[in-house]
């Protein structure tokens, strides 16, 4: 009896292992990516839809932009995601190419009782002072002057920043760097900076979760995270001196300034752009690929997916308030695929070469 039981357990085990091994042989390889959490809401939607349509599995783990750069350089993933653009020289050095997937907005979010999304108005200076730890309470004069009609509590400001290297942080600090001389001097632009105050959270989701949880907190996330979780964003004063709300239109206004044609290696920064309608903290998010790849099958499958995203993903992107990359830029990107990407020495784009 006992032996029979052992035999059954043993057989089940063996069967499970065999299924796994056999499965590996049949199934198309999963494409593995990792990196920025900024575009994760839209990437996850695209990948889910693409999987439904084609059965191709793309596994994207949001671990932060620094993680995306590190894992693609180490070759532990097939593609990396980052929203801190790499300089053309750094790209050459590490043998990578970078191209933008989508453009999105970074918004400050707050958790103050009685304050609804878009109600609180902040100037660039006030924002920088808060993250520098110089504004300590919400009823600070600088904030009250901007919001005469709001009842602000005498509550401590808890800054929520990223705990790991992040492209969202890069875009956000790049903005603060531009608008505040104090910030420029003390902290500068970076995927991580030496935060003087606050708590650290992992990824855009982590920042959103902490702001959700800690009363009196302020953090910064990609807009989709604020919308999906009904976290109150603030209204910011832009370069033209107007208070604007984060919307797809105000992001598009910023993205319209992008001159991709003269951006070497697609290095593009879209913070503090001119225009009355413009949301001031906008950035593109990038895919990183090795110029020389090993597996032509994986390489083709990846490019096919990215092409599908440019072609069929725009509507979904706009729904989630991301700005799609314009068609002429996509053509430029695909030209660079053609010129620069090789797998096993073969050219992989255009796909017509495949039969």
């Amino acid at each position: 009896m006992r032996q029979a039981k052992t035999a059954v357990v043993g057989l089940t085990l063996v069967a499970a292992m065999l299924t796994c091994i056999a499965g590996a042989a049949i199934a198309a390889p999963t494409i593995n990516g990792a990196g920025a959490t900024f575009p994760e809401p839209i990437y996850a939607l695209w990948m889910n839809k693409y999987y439904e349509l084609t059965g191709v599995k793309i596994n994207y783990q949001g671990i932060g932009s620094s993680g995306g750069i590190r894992q693609i350089e180490a070759g532990t993933v097939d593609f990396g995601g980052s929203d801190a653009p790499m300089r053309a020289a750094a790209l050459v050095e590490s043998g990578l190419i970078q191209f933008p997937m989508v453009v999105g907005g970074v918004v400050p979010i707050v958790n103050i009782e009685g304050i609804a999304p878009g109600e609180l108005r902040l100037s660039p200076q006030a924002l920088a002072d808060m993250f520098a730890g110089e504004i300590v309470y919400w009823d600070n004069d600088a904030i009250r002057e901007l919001n005469p009609e709001l009842e602000l509590p005498h509550q401590a400001v808890t800054v929520v920043h990223r705990a790991e290297g992040s492209g969202t942080t890069w875009i956000f600090t790049n903005y603060l760097d531009k608008v505040s001389p104090m910030w420029h001097e003390k902290f500068g632009t970076g995927k991580t900076v030496a935060w003087p105050v606050g708590v650290g959270a992992k990824g855009n989701p982590g920042v959103a979760a902490y702001v959700q949880r800690v009363a009196g907190s302020i953090g910064y996330v990609e807009y989709a995270y604020a919308v999906q979780n009904k976290l109150p964003h603030v209204s910011l004063r832009n370069a033209a001196g107007e208070f604007v709300q984060p919307t797809i239109e105000s992001f598009q206004a910023a993205a319209a300034n992008a001159d991709w044609a003269s951006a070497k290696g697609y290095y593009m920064v879209l913070t503090d752009q001119p225009g009355e309608e413009t949301w001031p903290i906008v950035g593109a998010t990038f895919i990183l690929l090795h110029k020389k790849m090993e597996n032509p099958r994986t390489a083709r499958a990846m490019l096919k997916f990215f092409d599908w995203c440019y072609d069929h993903g725009s509507e979904m992107a706009v729904e989630k308030d991301y700005v799609p990359i314009p068609g002429n830029v996509v053509e430029m990107i695909q030209e660079s695929w053609e010129k620069e990407l090789r797998a096993n020495g073969q050219q992989i784009w255009p796909l017509a070469a495949e039969k």
């Binding site: 809401p41 596994n59 783990q61 992992k202 959700q212």
Partner: protein
């Protein structure tokens, strides 16, 4: 001790009881509170699709964690398949072949240290050893990390359990002319079977809820674990990611996954305890 009146001593005793009993009860109450939160919030999150469907994209309600459940099961099984036999054999060495030898003392000491090594360090180690060398995160790496955690636990319980087997049994086996390995595997293992199984079960209970060693090895995945040479979905890293997300649906799923893990670990631990008690009742 200073001589004191009976009244004073009685008072000290009563005072200790007054302090002690509420403190003890509140400690127990906190532990009960945790269990209650996990059980009530977790049970509310479970439904059919939790067990059958793949995860949905962030912010989209629905979906399940079937892939993570399978991934955790597979990696735990594989880790047991690697770690338990090694631990059993190593335990045999300590108990049967020169328990007093210098090597045995060193192995015993090292295995204690290994048992006390933080699991996140095992994660860093396996990342450097396997993930960096093979060039990708994988379920295999995760299983190896878990196997390293299993090894010392099984080793120690095996040694303890084999030491409980009376020497007469060994001697009678050997007197019949049976070779040592047969005596060990056929006679001594049989005699100590319950104890050995308990040791393995306790080790499995310990690793099945581990998160830290998987973060840098198995990573996670949104798909079925069709092969273990890719990032592999698992419950604990999913709990970590989902609990740290702002999505109510994901947070609820994290509770559901916590519930499953807790129930799983408790069932294994109760099984282990039960079999030990039965064994104690028999002897």
């Amino acid at each position: 001790m200073q001589p004191r009146g009976v009244a004073g001593r009685q008072f000290a005793d009563q005072a200790m009881r007054v302090v002690m009993i509420p403190a003890a009860l509140s400690g127990i109450a906190i532990l009960a509170w945790i269990l209650w939160e996990v059980m009530s919030r977790g049970a509310a999150a479970l439904n059919w699709s939790f067990f059958t469907e793949l995860p949905s994209p962030p912010g989209v309600e629905g979906g399940g964690l079937s892939n993570a459940i399978l991934g955790t099961l597979l990696m735990t099984l594989l880790a047991t398949a690697i770690g338990a036999p090694l631990g059993l054999l190593a335990g045999v060495f300590l108990a049967e072949f020169g328990p007093k030898s210098r090597i045995a003392t060193a192995v015993r000491f090292t295995s204690n240290l290994l048992m006390g090594t933080p699991s996140i360090i095992i994660g860093v180690f396996v990342y450097a050893l396997i993930v960096l060398r093979t060039g990708h995160f994988s379920g295999w790496a995760g299983a190896v990390a878990l196997a390293i955690l299993i090894l010392p636990v099984v080793l120690r319980t095996t040694e303890d359990m084999l030491n409980l087997v009376p020497d007469e049994l060994r001697e009678s086996g050997l007197a019949l002319g049976a070779p040592r390995w047969r005596v060990t595997l056929w006679i001594i293992f049989r005699a100590a079977k319950t104890g050995l199984v308990t040791g393995v079960l306790l080790a499995v209970a310990r690793v099945s809820g581990e998160t830290a060693p998987l973060l840098f090895t198995a990573l996670n995945s949104f798909y079925w674990p069709e092969t273990l040479s890719e990032p592999t979905a698992n419950l604990t890293v999913t709990i970590f990611n989902y609990a740290m997300s702002p999505y109510a649906d994901w947070q609820q799923k994290a509770w559901g996954a916590s519930f499953l893990i807790t129930i799983g670990v408790l069932v294994v631990a109760v099984l282990a305890r039960f079999s030990l008690q039965r064994r104690a009742a028999k002897t």
